[in-house]
């Protein structure tokens, strides 16, 4: 009898299998080579972990993930997007770390009718005037995080600040977002070279400017360089350092104790208290031996979003998936995510501090919530 039931169950499973014989294909684009390769590697790890947690299926459908290395070059990203759509015939294009790369592939992918989900970049044009209904962000709009920093520093009563960011679009977006909420004196606004490794000259100028606080956006290796040199130059006695996207799971292993006490804002932190995040951070650490960065968390969330969209709509059709995602309430490492009319998340902005955990590893801890359910500033300009 028991055997009969098993056979029945297997055949039922098999018929169910044939009914769902469709395979959903996801093209996941990130930077796996070059200096930023570590970011892409963490995202790839997180995507693989998400697929493992979902048993290799997305919304019950068999799933295939195709990774593509954009080499941080817009032209390569464009070619890859074309290849993913035309030759691999993917249902979803996801990933993308850099704003300029997302700008390059945004039109070709959305016009093709393929769903495009960003795991990181959130340039303002795509959130505003150039928005498209086939694009969904699972990260943030660029300005949101520095807006949180601006608000925190304004509320903390900081009188004067010195700003520093690389000389490219995201750098300018970040400082613009900061200034939207910070109304104190700006003692200096310096744009450094993208990829700069030595900031000693800028630090000397900063020392002379004598601002009460300093706010930087220096992602990746630039953040490591900046913070190291900041400490070595003894700048803590001159000014207090605040950061966005500079002290995170990517730079902390190289900075260790030098980063302790530095404040930043972020939409996510490894210690966010919800079941999905605990499982993600715990399993990521067990499997890869280090804390995940926010890049990894957002990559994980992207896969959860696709899973959620297919499970709810029962289809991998772009219009159906996007209508589920547009409705919000997407289960992620940041809790159930709300969506704005431009399909960018409405989310909390947390203040995080770099601290040592129980094992002596440097990580970040949430010390406050700057914004609850913070929406981006461009949604009103977006008309589908």
């Amino acid at each position: 009898m028991k055997r009969f039931i098993t056979v029945c169950a297997i055949s039922a499973a098999m018929t169910a299998g044939t009914a769902f014989a469709e395979t959903v294909k996801v093209g996941y684009m990130t930077t796996l080579s070059g200096g930023a390769g570590i970011i892409g590697k963490q995202m790839q790890n997180a995507v693989n972990l998400a697929m493992e947690h979902k048993g290799g299926k997305l919304g019950g459908m068999d799933a295939e993930i195709i990774f593509a290395d954009d080499q941080r070059k817009p032209d390569v990203a464009k070619q890859l997007a074309n290849r993913l759509m035309k030759s691999d015939r993917v249902d979803v294009v996801a990933g993308v770390i850099w704003s300029n790369l997302l700008m390059a592939i945004h039109k070709p992918v959305t016009r093709n009718g393929t769903l495009l989900i960003s795991s990181n970049a959130g340039p303002s044009p795509i959130a505003g005037a150039q928005c498209n209904k086939n694009f969904v962000s699972m990260s943030w709009q660029n300005d949101q995080t520095p807006e949180g920093m601006g608000k925190h520093m304004q509320d903390a009563g900081i009188k004067s600040v010195y700003l520093m960011a690389p000389n490219y679009q995201a750098g300018k977006d970040m400082l613009a977002g900061f200034k939207r909420y910070y109304k104190g004196t700006i003692k200096g606004e310096v744009y450094t070279k993208l990829g700069q490794s030595d900031f000693q000259a800028e630090l000397s100028a900063l020392r002379a400017a004598g601002a009460q606080a300093t706010m930087i956006f220096q992602p990746g290796g630039m953040g490591i360089n900046f913070v190291k040199q900041w400490k070595q130059a003894g700048m803590d006695s001159v000014s207090k350092l605040y950061t966005v996207f500079s002290v995170d799971g990517v730079s902390l292993p190289a900075l260790k104790d030098a980063a302790i006490g530095i404040l930043g804002t972020q939409t996510w932190s490894p210690d966010l208290d919800n079941a999905i995040n605990k499982k993600f951070v715990g399993d990521y650490k067990a499997k890869f031996g280090a804390y995940p960065s926010f890049y990894a968390a957002q990559a994980y969330d992207t896969i959860l979003a696709i899973d959620h969209a297919i499970a709810k709509s029962g289809s991998k059709d772009t219009a159906k998936m996007r209508s589920i995602l547009a409705a919000g309430n997407i289960p992620t490492t940041r809790g159930n995510l709300k969506m704005n009319t431009n399909q960018f998340p409405i989310q909390n902005i947390y203040l995080r501090e770099a601290v040592k955990d129980a094992d002596g590893v440097v990580t970040t801890k949430v010390t406050g919530t700057v914004f609850t359910d913070h929406a981006d500033s461009y949604a009103s300009q977006c008309k589908f």
């Binding site: 000693q200 000397s204 490591i224 190289a254």
Partner: protein
């Protein structure tokens, strides 16, 4: 813009220039004297930084890390010459470019495979993380001052080696006329291998000194390679003295330009334009300088004789 700020920035420029000189000096020996186009010189910087960081981590002693990393980079240069480079001397420049560009990719990937793609942890020992007062109430990081001193000592060392020693004479003779030098009983092959390894070692020393200051990660030496090519063009290809002067000039122009140019521009044009054009112009300054030097002194400031 006080006097102390200008002095501090001059020190910063000097430190950048001296580091650049170590890379450029190696390249001058290899490209200028041996006439071999070696693009993977930036990889030697990376190897030096990784060797020092890894040994420091293993032994827990920064000085031991530096001390042991020097022979490691010399040996890696020696081995590289023996295994690959010596087969390329007779090829034309384009093939050397292709082969050594391939070496860049190889070294970056090799480092990524053995150390992982993440930046390596490296920091200063407490004994070097203090400050020195260069003027009353003007603290300057002791380590950076140390970098300037080590760089200057290396510069004097190379100068003496090339112009005052027997080996230097053989090197200069070998560069001028390899056949005749060989006919006089000097082993050109071993000599070139020695020069190559010395050049690689100098770049490695630059990497070791940069390690505690910047991110130790794959491909970290490539931006330095481009700047050091500019340096040897400005200084005159094959001239160690030229490389030194040009490296200091480039370091100063780059540093001072970056800091003061946007402020100077603000005096003439409105704030927004100055903020936009300043950083862009500052990053071009070094190349503009190179163009100007090439117009008036096509062979560089101190062209090698012969």
């Amino acid at each position: 813009m006080t006097f102390t700020l200008i002095l501090e920035q001059t020190f910063n420029g000097l430190q950048a220039g001296v580091t650049l000189f170590l890379v450029a000096a190696g390249l001058t020996l290899i490209l200028g004297i041996m006439d071999f186009v070696f693009l993977a010189h930036g990889s030697q910087v990376m190897i030096g930084a990784y060797a020092a960081a890894a040994i420091t981590q293993a032994t827990g002693n920064f000085y031991l890390g530096i001390l042991l990393a020097v022979p490691v980079t010399f040996a890696s240069g020696y081995l590289l010459e023996y295994l690959i480079i010596r087969h390329l001397y007779q090829r034309d420049h384009m093939e050397q470019v292709l082969a050594t560009f391939g070496l860049i990719l190889f070294f970056n990937e090799a480092i990524r495979v053995s150390f992982g793609p993440a930046a390596l942890f490296s920091d200063l020992p407490p004994s070097l993380s203090g400050f020195v007062e260069i003027l009353p109430a003007t603290p300057y990081p002791a380590y950076r001052l140390g970098v300037i001193i080590v760089g200057l000592l290396c510069a004097v060392g190379i100068h003496l080696l090339v112009s005052r020693t027997r080996i230097g004479a053989m090197v200069r003779a070998g560069a001028n006329n390899p056949e005749m030098t060989a006919a006089l009983g000097i082993n050109i092959k071993i000599l070139f291998r020695f020069i190559f390894a010395t050049g690689a070692c100098l770049a490695g020393v630059a990497g070791m000194m940069l390690g505690p200051l910047t991110a130790v990660q794959p491909g970290m030496g490539e931006p330095l390679l481009i700047l050091s090519l500019v340096v040897i063009i400005i200084g005159g290809i094959g001239s160690v003295r030229g490389a030194f002067v040009a490296a200091i000039i480039v370091g100063l122009v780059d540093t001072l330009g970056r800091v003061f140019l946007p402020a100077i521009l603000r005096l003439f044009v409105e704030q927004a334009t100055a903020d936009g054009a300043g950083p862009a112009l500052a990053s071009m300054l070094v190349y503009i300088l190179m163009a100007v030097v090439l117009i008036f002194r096509p062979t560089g400031l101190f062209p090698a004789k012969g």
